[in-house]
């Protein structure tokens, strides 16, 4: 892996994320890059299902929200240190989705998509009624938990670097899976599931593993996100906007590519920042995301990277 140029391209991007806000201690840049890192994390993990295995997951926000809840709950009610809670969050959500994945991934294509919509509704309704997690009013954590990280100010920097680390892990995970045998199996499932099964790809197991792998890092990102906010409630944790945006990003950049998803996340973040400032458009964020997605699906199904590959076929060997 170390010999491949793409490995070093990812390393460069990550380094840019780490260094650029440090220059001049630019807090505003840090916040917008943190959001971009969250987008890249969500979108590239969604891409494992959507781009590789060809299974659309409308409910990727469940990983994020559930991760947020578990992490905040561990930190608040059980006084776990942040690192341990994050790890436990990732493993917990991943294990849950593995169990769940074995169940629902016997379903094919659209049936799977339907059940992922149901998962969001079901989990959200569950959390709203689950009293240990504060029901519909949510959980607040006291500012004291930031003390081990050096107080609220420095804690924000620590959290930012953790966001970047999670993003880096997501990109390497996407890339690592893509060049592995596992990834080839997933791509085969995406192209023709019956043919893949006949050729010996253990399709239910691969799909469940992929589903579970795509849960791990978003759960950690969710834990960080809500730890940073020091507050979590069901309507924020399971906000469908975020999983919708992840889908838009995947399709915008080009499903199934690692570079495309990162590029799409960056572009979408820029676009969103621009739209939020404009008073006409800030109310119509969903409308614009929807219209963008519709145009991509109707006219440019292979996204930005499809366009780039068409123009510069040689780049296909370098940019995965």
């Amino acid at each position: 892996m170390l010999r491949r140029p793409f490995f070093w391209i990812i390393a460069l991007v990550v380094a840019a994320f780490v260094v650029s806000p440090l220059i001049g201690n630019d807090v505003q840049l840090r916040e917008s890059l943190a959001l971009a890192a969250v987008y890249i994390t969500l979108a590239s993990n969604l891409n494992l299902m959507l781009g590789y295995a060809g299974y659309i997951n409308f409910g990727s926000i469940v990983f994020f929200g559930l991760g947020g809840y578990i992490c905040v709950w561990l930190v608040d009610a059980h006084h776990w240190p942040l690192a341990a809670s994050l790890l436990a969050t990732g493993i917990g959500v991943s294990a849950l989705s593995l169990v769940f994945g074995f169940g629902i991934l016997r379903l094919r294509g659209p049936f799977f998509a339907l059940s992922t919509i149901g998962i969001v509704e079901g989990v959200q309704a569950f959390v709203e009624n689950f009293q240990p997690w504060g029901g519909s009013s949510g959980i607040y954590i006291s500012p004291e938990v930031f003390a081990p990280l050096g107080g609220p100010g420095p804690a924000l920097w620590v959290i930012y670097f953790l966001f970047v680390a999670v993003m880096a892990a997501s990109l390497y995970l996407s890339y690592g899976i893509k060049i592995s045998k596992f990834g080839l199996g997933l791509l085969a499932i995406g192209q023709n599931e019956d043919a893949a099964a006949i050729l010996g790809v253990p399709t239910p197991r691969y799909k469940a593993l992929c589903y579970s792998a795509s849960a791990f890092l978003p759960a950690i990102a969710g834990g960080l996100y809500f730890f940073k906010a020091a507050f979590i409630q069901p309507s924020d944790a399971f906000d469908l906007t975020l999983s919708t945006e992840a889908i838009v990003i995947c399709m915008l950049g080009g499903q199934g590519t690692v570079t495309g998803v990162a590029l799409g996340a960056y572009l979408y973040e820029e676009l969103r920042g621009y739209l939020l400032i404009s008073s006409t458009f800030s109310n119509f964020q969903l409308v614009i995301a929807g219209a963008l997605l519709l145009v991509i699906v109707l006219f440019f199904p292979s996204g930005l990277m499809g366009f780039i590959y068409d123009r510069f076929p040689r780049l296909q060997k370098v940019l995965e």
């Binding site: 959507l50 060809g54 659309i56 409308f58 169940g103 629902i104 016997r106 379903l107 294509g109 659209p110 049936f111 998509a113 339907l114 059940s115 919509i117 149901g118 998962i119 509704e121 079901g122 309704a125 569950f126 709203e128 009624n129 919708t244 889908i247 399709m251 109310n283 119509f284 964020q285 969903l286 409308v287 614009i288 995301a289 929807g290 219209a291 997605l293 519709l294 699906v297 109707l298 199904p301």
Partner: protein
Amino acid sequence: MFGIIASIIDGVLVGLVYGLAAMGLTLIWGVMDVINLTHGTMIVAGMMALYLISGALGVSPYFTLPPILIGGFFVGVALYWVAVHRMMGRPPLMSLLSTFSVNLILVGLGTAVWGTALFNVEVSLPGLTIDRYTFPGPHILAAVLAAVIASLLYAFLHYTRLGKALRAVANNREAAELVGIPTTRVLAIAVGCGVALAGVSGMLIGTLFPFTILSGDGYQLKSFVVTVLGGFGNPVGALMGGVALGLLEGAVTPFVPVSWTLVIEFVLFVLVLIAFPGGVFARRGTL
């Protein structure tokens, strides 16, 4: 004891309306293997049309049924040309994404215009009182109307030329094309009918319960559960699935807080999908 029976009967009445909604979803799936993710929003559109028309004209809520049926049909045809037509013959993922994005646009516009306020339509209709229990009038009338519309749909599919063409296209699109059925037009009509049914059932639900712009997600999930119970692509099964869901809701409500219903329904949905991938009541492809 009678309380539980009354609750179950009331559940069945409401379940018939859910069944009607699910018929709209399953009709589109049965004819062209497309899952209409704007379904929930179309239900809410029916509710909003009910609220706006009956509010503006001051007529009885039930007079809004014909305009919603006709309007829904044209909205559906438009939906076909915008989001579904280009997706024919492409992976199923794509039609899911395209209807999903249309849904985003509609929900976004709806929340921008109306916000997330709660709307309520007053219906004054005497109920039917047996012993100490009263079955609300709107529930009974909605169930009757749902049953009538469902039978009309059945008659349309089985005894009219266009309905037969629709079933032919559902069976085998190429063969239908070969015998001279204008399949594209038939597909557009199928989406039109599906959306019209969603709108009308939304209008009926609007006479029963208060709603917001975002109520659609919950009802869409109910429609999916019903569709899965009744078998994909089978309108009659959908009506039976609706009754089954209503039965379940009625049997559960006396014992469990209302807010848990959605969780129970979802668990049921997944279990049924895994245990009976073809649906409980019927086999696939019997449109």
